[in-house]
């Protein structure tokens, strides 16, 4: 392996219009998915590419913030960066003029995530391996050095994290079977809010034929009866043996959430996602208690490891939907996964990356951390834009083999 040096750094504001209705939910009348992309160039070596998702013009703010934060990496060999990435990323986040804009949330956090994801991509490419293999091949000590565990010390010290990895070594060979069988997927794209019933029906049948057995429906319509009608319709379509999830995208205040989740529970959902304000830990606690055994999921708007720690400590969630394009990238995604392991909670990522990077991370989580394999969200709308789009066959993510984190966009391919 070579210590490729980061020679130049740039950003790219990639915007992709979506087909009509795709991406819509109770809060977002989304019309485009935008990727605020960081590019790390190494002269004759590979180019590292990482991104975060935004939903439009905000992409310009994130790109500008990336340019402000990324400067310390210029001229550093990628191996030097990654040998101490926990400390380096913490210093980037603590930028004296920009920390005040967060800390660790909003635009500056998204910028740090984009930078971090590009670093991991470059690291894997420079070693000629896919990201999942890079992570699995690190020693426990090396792996823990890519994490910023600050403000988690009372629960997750570096020593604890190393011990957790060591404790999982005996079962690894067995769990590596998943590299051959592939990681199960679930289909979010049958049930966008603005799809009419006919379209939901058509897409669900198609997804069943393709081998999917888990489906998500957007709820939180102003017309509550529409939610219930469509929930019944989808359950009827997929049968009792398939898995159904509901996603309200934060629509309800607590009193409404308590009432409506009670109604939706009758359709046997695997989870109800983002029922209310994503900052409201106490509301999630009350909801989780009230709708039990129905389970509550959230994560795409939980901005950092400390907030996740609090959600877990309060027993507010049953599924951890951390997203490496929302927390501070691959590194903090892994940190939150360690926390989930401690609290014995499943990690089922939200995929702001359309699953491209997360297909690597869930393999690490299962094999190295011993997290029970669940399934990974699948959203196909951007697949034609990636050089190596995730291959989902028979409802299963095939293990990626190309070097890197599968984040390269065609539009940026060097010609």
């Amino acid at each position: 392996m070579s210590d490729y040096t980061i020679q130049s750094i740039s950003t790219y504001d990639a915007r992709f219009p979506l087909p009509p209705g795709a991406g819509t939910d109770s809060i977002h009348a989304t019309s485009e998915y935008c990727l605020a992309t960081t590019l790390l160039t190494t002269g004759n070596g590979p180019c590292g590419s990482g991104f975060v998702l935004t939903l439009g013009d905000g992409n310009t703010l994130v790109c500008k913030a990336i340019q402000m934060l990324v400067k310390p990496l210029e001229g550093m060999p990628i191996e030097t960066v990654m040998a101490d990435f926990g400390n380096i990323s913490r210093k980037i986040a603590d930028h004296p003029a920009l920390r005040w804009l967060g800390p660790h949330k909003g635009v500056v956090q998204l910028a740090l995530a984009s930078i971090t994801n590009a670093c991991f991509d470059l690291w894997a490419k420079s070693r000629g391996v896919p990201l999942w293999k890079l992570l699995l091949d690190l020693t426990p000590e090396e792996l823990v050095r890519v994490l910023d565990l600050s403000y988690l010390e009372e629960i997750l010290s570096e020593r604890t994290a190393v011990s957790m990895l060591r404790a999982q070594l005996p079962g690894r060979a067995q769990r590596e079977a998943i590299l051959k069988s592939g990681y199960p997927g679930y289909d979010t794209s049958v049930g966008w809010m603005d799809y009419d019933d006919a379209k939901v029906t058509e897409l669900t049948k198609k997804a069943l034929d393709q081998g999917f057995s888990a489906f998500k429906l957007k709820v939180g319509s102003p017309d509550e009866s529409r939610d219930l009608r469509r929930a019944a319709m989808l359950r009827n379509l997929i049968g009792e043996e398939s898995t159904l999830m509901f996603d309200a995208n934060q629509r309800w205040h607590l009193p409404d959430a308590l009432r409506i989740c009670g109604e939706l529970a009758k359709f046997g959902p695997y989870w109800i996602e983002e029922p209310t304000d994503p900052d409201d830990i106490q509301a999630h606690v009350e909801l989780s208690r009230a709708v039990s055994p129905t389970k509550i999921a959230a994560g795409e708007h939980i901005a950092n490891r400390v907030l996740f720690k609090n959600f877990m400590q309060a027993k507010a969630l049953s599924f951890i939907q951390v997203d490496c394009t929302r927390v501070a990238g691959v590194s903090e995604f892994l940190t939150v996964s360690f926390l989930a392991k401690i609290f014995d909670l499943p990690v089922v990522p939200h995929v702001g990356d359309m699953g491209q990077m997360h297909q690597h991370l869930v393999l690490f989580n299962h094999i190295a951390l011993g997290l029970k394999a669940a399934f990974l969200e699948h959203i196909p709308h951007l697949r034609t834009h990636f050089i190596h789009p995730a291959r989902v066959q028979g409802g299963v993510y095939e293990t990626p083999q190309e070097p890197g984190a599968s984040a390269d966009l065609k539009v940026l391919a060097q010609t």
Copy 2:
């Protein structure tokens, strides 16, 4: 009064270098205070001016976000805006392309705060009264319509808020005495981190002579013994009868915070501020229990009303340091003050505005909401830059009489 129409909207990126050492703490090696300013122009009428604080280059991001968010206000009469400001500000925050960058935190929240503060300034100017008087003269119903109470419904409905104001009407006349006596201040500027002992001593003596009886010392030095030595020095200087506060600006992880706060408690602080990560509710709960009867204060990094609700529900804080330049402006400041009243907690604002707007808001809180008058932080570094700088005499804020929110910068004065 006239329905002045907002004809044009602009931003101004104001930056003010600080004297050496001023503004420094355990986290921020601050060298300039920057105000991301919104200007609302009304043709022949007054110009509304509002801002938020940042600590440098991030100001450009906030100004850009203001420009993206503020468009719906163009062409609206200010009275129309303010008659339904709770809903209008909520719609601005829910911008379909920008909400994803928060929601309600980071750059987009700061932008909303700047816009909101400009609206309140314009409203007060258009009625020819200082902001405190505008707020006091509103009916309870009118006041509550400037608030966005969404996601607080289980605790603070509109009806509850109106009732709270009505319940306080009988004692108002008596509490209005504070308009004459002035609102007590406390002095943060004696104890910045990088000031040496001689400077702290000199400034403290001067402040004592000026009538201050409450002082804040920055702690969280890498050298713990320095904190303890300076705490002893300052306590000795001001005597047992004066009030002393410590501010760690998030420096310690929980195990360190537990230990060091125990040491600092020996100097009889009125509070210990921001001992650890500002997102970590559970850590604040554990600290509050451990150091009792010493009290924990925080707020300058608590980004919105829902987070404040959670801190209060968890009994994590004893002082609520909400700041109208950190939450979504004057409106959300007032909302958090209602919550504090419900939880029987004192509101002692952090003053990202140097006290300019907050001198109005604490008067409202005391007179209309019946919150016990405490004291208001005083930071004088920018006073020469305001057209109407807060007048602090004898340790007391004199009640401002000029129309508006006291936010006008000299650099923007129309010539």
